[in-house]
Point group: C2
């Protein structure tokens, strides 16, 4: 039995998210189907975490136990041949026996792309979010510093969650602008349901002057979702990388 670590890229537009659900087209199901078709094994492909409908991944990581002894390079080629155009396996590596894509993860890097104003980009409609208002970048960058470190992020979490512990740590949060596109890069030890999308929505509303740093402080202190801004759409969100070394 080998434990494999897969690094996976996908466009989430035509998937009902990562996680298997009866009758829905999901990334996990698509990968398990490809495994079954290649090796005859019914495996479970364990992702580092779920991504929602419409969310993309440049570097989702999954672990999978297989008895198949095919050379790793051939595994990658053969799986990619079986997979549809919107999922690509970037790497297949041999992992330690006790490696688990979810439980072993130490850091996650999410990217969020949003176009500020102008005409909506029809070509990239499912790859970049849209925000119709002009924003002040410096104001957003300054306010984002309040989110760094360990906090109770309940105020930045969707109500639709079963989680009990809302403490998470954000290691870094960078906001940059290139033309009409603002990129948010958020690095943390883990994220609550919709947390990145609510953080981005809040910071954009701060940038536009609708919310202030006070809102962010209050959302962190009270855990009350009402202080934070709106949940941005899924199409701008990318799971960029999952890190496993401490």
């Amino acid at each position: 039995m080998r434990n494999l670590k897969l690094t996976i890229e996908y466009n989430g537009a035509n998937f009902s998210g990562w996680q298997k659900q009866n009758g829905k087209r999901t990334v996990q199901q698509t990968l398990e189907d490809a495994f079954l078709s290649l090796t005859g094994e019914s495996v479970t492909v364990e992702g580092s975490g779920r991504t929602d409908k419409g969310v993309h991944a440049l570097g989702q990581v999954a672990s999978v136990q297989t008895e198949n002894q095919m050379p790793l390079k051939n595994f990658k080629i053969a799986l990619n041949d079986l997979l549809p155009a919107d999922v690509t396996i970037k790497k297949v590596e041999k992992a330690e026996e006790n490696f688990h894509a979810r439980f072993s993860a130490k850091k996650k890097v999410y990217k969020y792309l949003v176009q500020i104003g102008g005409d909506r980009d029809a070509i990239k409609h499912d790859l970049v979010a849209f925000y119709p208002y002009q924003v002040e970048l410096k104001r957003m960058q300054d306010t984002s510093k309040l989110l760094l470190g360990k906090h109770n992020f309940k105020g930045f979490c969707s109500a639709h969650t079963n989680v009990k512990n809302f403490e998470r740590e954000i290691f870094d949060l960078k906001i940059s602008k290139c033309g009409k596109i603002i990129t948010f890069l958020v690095i943390g030890n883990g994220f609550l349901y919709n947390m990145v999308r609510i953080i981005v929505g809040t910071l954009l509303d701060v940038g536009r002057g609708k919310l202030s740093a006070e809102n962010v402080k209050k959302a962190l202190e009270t855990g009350n979702r009402q202080y934070a801004g709106k949940t941005m759409s899924a199409n701008g969100l990318y799971l960029q990388k999952v890190e496993y070394r401490c």
Copy 2:
């Protein structure tokens, strides 16, 4: 009655092409529905030409006759509010009475994007075509010069056409490479069915060494489709611009 000139961008991935067809989601139908909803008029939106299922446009042009007297700037905003995310109207201009998007067109500019080798790009799977073989750029550029000027392009046209006159003129054909992406820019007075996609497929096969300049010459001389290369997929093709001045 005003004659309007619309400049339109769309992502073709989720459309069954430009042209209206019963029960299918098409760009033309989507625009006509938006007009009806905005003005109450049943108009015909005449495009500069059809684009196939999966083909994109950065600057498709259409003409439309309307009795509505709304200021042009409001027309654009109101239509874009009604249109889905994968179609955007970039410009609404008043046109001469006798302007017709198809009959008045003088030049069309098509762009074709293709990734050469490497892992398939899952994120841009419907925006960039894929070619698994390495190609020699210079060989393609040299061979492409044979296509410049007026020719009978029957050898570069799909059999599924009703056209009788296969003469077209190519004014320019540029091929450039940036990283793994090759961009073809083809400017002509008009294009036959699948002509750009067959030209690109032929030049790529030349670049890889499967075909030679002789194939291109013979396809031009004999009009025999067999000498040319394969038809590339729709997802790499963009109608970039339509020009109307002589």
